[in-house]
């Protein structure tokens, strides 16, 4: 009896539309929450490295010295952790899969020359501010090494 039932289902399948999509002729519409691949808006990225530290598959590499943010898309497991921990929300999960490739490529996002210039200026300003603060601190209170030396000399005089 069940065989006859299944025969009915088979005939229904034969004359009904395919269960699969006519891809790629008709593009697939992904769900809004679908975790496809990571994209970085490098103009907003501060290269803090939080994404690199939290990445479970170590797919992300951030280099402050080279002003680069790298991702190995074939190692990325689309867990969305980097998007969640990003402090400036420059990372986003795009709801379409990574483009197919023939090689295990690395996507490198580098600061633009203007961004590098601004960053270098900022670093310079920070360094100067630190140096000034150190100098001010030294001027305010005498050097503890000098004080020790002075007290030694005083003792020897006695």
């Amino acid at each position: 009896m069940s065989t006859l039932n299944y025969l009915g289902q088979s005939l229904k399948n034969l004359f009904s539309r395919p269960a699969t999509e006519n891809y790629p002729a008709k593009p697939h519409i992904y769900e809004e929450r679908y975790r496809g691949h990571i994209e970085n808006d490098i103009s907003r990225c501060i290269l803090c490295g939080n994404c690199m530290r939290h990445c479970p598959s170590s797919a992300i590499t951030v280099s402050k010295a080279e002003y680069t943010w790298r991702i190995r898309p074939f190692s990325c497991v689309q867990c969305n952790e980097c998007v969640e921990v990003c402090p400036v929300k420059c990372l986003s999960m795009v709801n379409a899969p990574t483009k197919p490739g023939t090689q295990k490529s690395i996507i490198v996002n580098r600061y633009s020359s203007e961004q590098i210039a601004v960053e270098q200026e900022r670093q310079k300003a920070i360094a100067e501010r630190i140096a000034k603060a150190k100098a001010a601190a030294a001027a305010k209170s005498p050097n503890p090494a000098d004080t020790a030396q002075a007290s030694k000399e005083n003792k020897s005089c006695v």
Binding site: S2, T3, Y34, H54, C79
Partner: protein, 364 residues
């Protein structure tokens, strides 16, 4: 009187690559003519050392690694790990979190069982039934994709709650999906249980008595098909304590009984999902997590394939000392070896399949 029959002993390697095995496991089958007199299993082909990674990953991030132990029981692995950590940290999750976790766990069970039914149909050569069950499974995966963003790896669990909430519209879609699935699954499952050809491959094959099943530490549908009423969901973890269900038990202990248990569990899961949606409370989906865990805990949950253990030991830092995961397939291998002994070589594939082996889980 001398025995004149030909009784040649030979050893036939079964696996690690075999048409019925989606993943690599090796069995040395000691044959006397066509009859199996002994089977020697060996595993270790896809070991990845995931447990060791716990020493290098923040305990909050490790859930993402834990759930990637396997592509089918992934939600359960994440759930077991967070349950253990939450118990160590004395965190009580919100009611909505509990219901959503239960709902996703049952959707995971549904897609696992539908996948297994497809593999079973493929193993005994019923190609169109295989396609039909996988078409139905696709509907469950679509619901999971809609709510979590992933088809088999969900990444929604975290210590103290969930990463994503579910909207009212999504719950309505799931409810409608359950109605369609209940109707459409009936044709396929009736064929599994009623078709004469299907029965000829499974009835009386690989029989395991309830006593031996218990002695050998079997679990999950494999154990329940032998007549033992043991289901960890009865412990009432997450929202199971507030839902109405009775474990599915069958008494024949053969391959047909295992198929029957899984088919009935499929409908039971649909019912549990409906109950979860009907009783779904409103409210937050996470509680704040303060500090680092310190202590140890062993969580037990009922995965689609059976009982899974998650041992977590923490030392007060953000890196855990030890994470141990014992998966259902690992406990079912002794039972499998027992059933294979005395069977015909042609039935071995069917017996291996009916424990629903998941080698990725077993190897970790």
């Amino acid at each position: 009187m001398a025995d004149n029959s030909i009784k040649k002993i030979s050893i036939v390697p079964f696996g690690p690559q075999h048409p019925v095995l989606p993943e690599p496991i090796h069995l040395d089958l000691v044959l006397q003519d066509e009859k199996v007199i002994d089977a020697l299993p060996s595993i270790g082909f896809v070991h990845r050392g995931l447990e060791k990674l716990v020493e290098k990953r923040d305990f909050q991030d490790f859930v993402l690694v834990a759930e990637r132990t396997c592509g089918i029981c992934s939600f359960g692995h994440g759930l077991g790990y967070v349950e253990a950590v939450e118990k160590i940290m004395h965190l009580e999750t919100t009611p909505r979190t509990k219901y959503l976790r239960t709902m996703w766990a049952e959707l995971g069970r549904m897609h696992n069982h539908l996948m297994w039914l497809g593999l079973l149909a493929d193993a005994f050569g019923f190609e169109s039934l295989f396609m039909e069950t996988w078409r139905l499974r696709e509907k469950v995966l679509d619901l999971l994709e809609l709510t979590t963003g992933g088809r088999v790896i969900f990444s929604v669990n975290k210590v103290g709650g969930l990463r994503k909430d579910v909207t009212k519209g999504m719950l309505d879609t799931i409810m409608a999906g359950m109605t369609v699935l209940t109707k459409e699954c009936r044709v396929a499952t009736d064929t599994f249980l009623g078709d004469r050809d299907v029965q000829s491959r499974m009835r009386g094959v690989g029989r395991l008595s309830p006593e031996r099943a218990e002695e050998l530490g079997c679990c999950g549908p494999f154990l329940r098909a032998s007549g033992v009423r043991r289901d960890l969901r009865l412990l009432g973890y997450e929202a199971y304590g507030e839902l109405q269900f009775e474990p599915i038990v069958s008494f024949d202990g053969d391959c047909y009984a295992r198929c029957e248990v899984r088919i009935k569990e499929l409908y039971q899961s649909m019912d549990l999902v409906r109950q979860c949606i009907e009783k779904m409370p409103d409210g937050p989906i996470e509680v704040p997590v303060k500090g680092n865990p310190n202590g140890e805990y062993m969580a037990r949950i009922e995965q689609p394939r059976g009982e899974a253990l998650y041992y977590v030991k923490a030392n007060g830092t953000k890196f855990l000392t030890r994470y141990r995961n014992r998966t259902p397939t690992y406990s079912n291998i002794p039972g499998l070896v027992e059933t294979i002994k005395g069977a015909e070589l042609a039935d071995v594939a069917m017996m291996i399949l009916t424990i629903d082996p998941c080698i990725s889980c077993t190897e970790r």
